[in-house]
């Protein structure tokens, strides 16, 4: 099915008025995709309790969004909710699960551990500082752990993103990530840039030097190449 859709614009655009057809089909497709987000519960740590269990519980009730159908098989899930710290041992497994998911797939990084390493940022020898070094992330939900309300805001942000986007996407091309608890339009790059500017301006610490020219990113890349299962 996905194959046909990928070729759809090429066929339709030749006809006058074809784009109307594509846009209206797009609207329907996006409506269905945004309203039927089945999570792959990828909980490793405390966030799993809040993100994947408490949100499904009667007080918060994830089922209102139609997202209570938590699939344990990545093949059937729509978005991977990464809840908790990802360490080097887990990173190749997580990447593999992501690759096993069927398109369209989305990734939500919940909790500061998943976003940046959080409380384990410093002096930890195993932590992956941000899951976006391993898988592309669509929505970030900050918090330690985030409240279920924050999760819902993240879910609704994801829905909004799906509705605004086109359903026909180039493989491998991803949107800029959106921070769930921040106003629209501010991206991680903005925040990282701002943090870098602030830190450099204060001359408290040279981030690049302290981080060894982002050496851990390179480390993770090498680690992943070494450990990722290749059929």
């Amino acid at each position: 099915m996905a194959l046909v859709l990928d070729r759809l614009p090429g066929i339709v655009d030749r006809f006058p008025g074809g784009s109307i057809l594509v846009t209206s089909i797009d609207a329907v497709i996006n409506w269905s995709r945004s309203n039927s987000l089945w999570p792959l519960a990828f909980g490793t740590k405390c966030c799993a309790i809040e993100m994947l269990m408490a949100t499904g519980a009667p007080h918060q009730d994830m089922s209102r969004f139609g997202a209570e159908v938590a699939r344990q098989s990545p093949r059937q899930a729509d978005f991977m909710c990464i809840a908790g710290a990802i360490v080097k041992k887990m990173a190749p497994r997580m990447r593999m699960l992501y690759e096993q998911m069927a398109e369209p797939r989305y990734v939500m990084a919940t909790g500061s551990c998943a976003i940046s390493g959080g409380p384990f940022m410093y002096n930890s020898y195993t932590i992956v500082r941000g899951v976006d070094e391993v898988v592309p992330v669509d929505v970030y939900v900050p918090g330690c752990p985030p409240r279920p309300e924050a999760f819902f805001y993240g879910l609704m942000t994801l829905q909004k993103m799906i509705r605004q986007g086109t359903s026909i996407r180039e493989p491998g091309v991803r949107r800029k990530p959106v921070m769930a608890a921040l106003p629209q339009g501010i991206t991680m790059d903005d925040i990282q840039g701002e943090m870098r500017r602030l830190l450099e301006a204060d001359n408290v610490v040279n981030v690049a030097e302290e981080a060894g020219e982002k050496i851990w990113t390179e480390k993770i890349r090498i680690w992943m190449e070494k450990h990722l299962y290749k059929p």
Binding site: M1, A57, S63, R75, Q76, A102, P104
Partner: protein
């Protein structure tokens, strides 16, 4: 429709079942165009029924589950989330269809179709109303038991071809379970067949004009009904017998490696199977589309007769469906050996004894409301 009060004997029964296939056959003799029209109507009706039934049942299941669990269930898509399953179905259709690299490709593709086909074939013989039935086979009960066995082929193939150990374990469990419980389900059906004296489902419904077999046959009817419900809940892999896809044990069981449309086939087949089982229970034990009647208490009977037969059928089937959903959200899962023990050591002996008793009862005409 004639008044029920005027029935005098089963011979001049007011309900005459005309099936879709009968009409098509009639038309074929006369007008070719009309017969084609009938066939197209039949096909569209089946497709619509399957899709509609699946969507409605999944929605109802999620709502029932939600309300049993002190929450709401889908609320966001449409009023009270009524379009939730529509969105789900659309999404599943548009999702990438993955075939694992080492999977047995042809079998992997065929398996969900097989599961679905078995389900759809079962829908053909169910008498939905006094004048709505796709085809009235004179060996209806035999056909049902034969075709329901096809579904297990789909599950077995799906699990085998996925090249996944969990899938295989799930498939093996499913095969063992479904084949075992089919024996008990069939034994329970046979009790009714003995009383009704026919294998045709329409005929069985008509034989219940004086009273439903569940209570018309003394005790054996109830026992057979309970055995049938238990065994068929196991046959369709619902909790407490959902070991083939037990989430906490086997990740997702036999359909672990299925995605998109093919997964939705398995998903849909499970729910429609549930309806088929409920419909069969309603047909065989609860009088099908027959209204509720109490012996010769005519005022009551005539009021009941005002309700259209299809509503009666739907109401009974829904009741059984609800009960099966209720099981799911109440019971823990059985272990695999406990499951087998329940079948071979408890249900099967009871089933045999029950069948023997039913034979005695039928031989001597020992049933209530033996008819005017």
């Amino acid at each position: 429709m004639m008044n029920l009060a005027t029935i005098t004997s089963p011979m001049d029964h007011p309900y005459t079942t005309t099936t879709v296939s009968d009409r098509a056959a009639d038309a074929l003799c006369g007008n070719l165009l009309l017969s084609v029209l009938y066939m197209v109507i039949g096909l569209v009706a089946v497709a619509g029924l399957v899709a509609g039934l699946g969507v409605v049942l999944i929605y109802v299941e999620r709502k029932v589950a939600g309300h049993m669990q002190a929450r709401l269930g889908p609320m966001r898509v449409g009023p009270h989330g009524i379009f939730q399953t529509v969105a789900d179905t659309l999404k599943l259709m548009l999702k990438e269809d993955i075939i694992p690299a080492k999977a047995d490709k042809p079998m992997h593709l065929v398996a969900p179709m097989l599961a679905m086909a078995a389900t759809i074939l079962m829908l053909a013989v169910i008498p939905y109303s006094n004048n709505l039935q796709i085809v009235d086979l004179n060996i209806g009960v035999l056909y049902v038991t034969a075709v329901s066995g096809l579904g297990v082929m789909g599950i077995l193939l799906g699990g085998w071809s996925s090249y996944n150990k969990w899938s295989l374990i799930g498939a093996m469990r499913a095969a063992a379970q479904i084949i075992s419980y089919e024996v008990s389900a069939t034994l329970a059906l046979l009790a009714v067949v003995l009383f009704a004296g026919t294998l045709s489902l329409a005929g069985i419904v008509e034989s219940q004009a004086a009273g439903w077999w569940i209570w018309r046959a003394p005790v054996v009817g109830v026992v057979a009904f309970l055995i049938y419900i238990t065994a068929s809940t196991a046959e369709i892999n619902r909790t407490p017998f959902d070991i083939p896809e037990g989430e906490s044990e086997l990740t997702a069981g036999f359909h672990t490696e299925y995605s998109g449309l093919r997964f939705s086939f398995f998903f849909l087949a499970e729910f429609i199977n549930m309806f088929v089982v409920s419909a069969l229970a309603a047909t065989l034990f609860l009088g099908g589309w027959m209204p509720l009647r109490i012996g010769q208490f005519e005022p009551f009977n005539s009021i009941m007769g005002l309700v259209p037969p299809s509503i009666w059928f739907l109401a009974k089937a829904s009741l059984v469906t609800f009960a099966i959903m209720w099981f799911r959200w109440t019971f823990p899962r059985l272990r695999v050996d406990q499951l087998m023990r329940l079948e071979w050591k408890i249900l099967l002996p009871i089933g045999f004894v029950n069948l023997a008793l039913a034979a005695v009862a039928a031989l001597f005409g020992l049933y209530f409301f033996s008819g005017p």
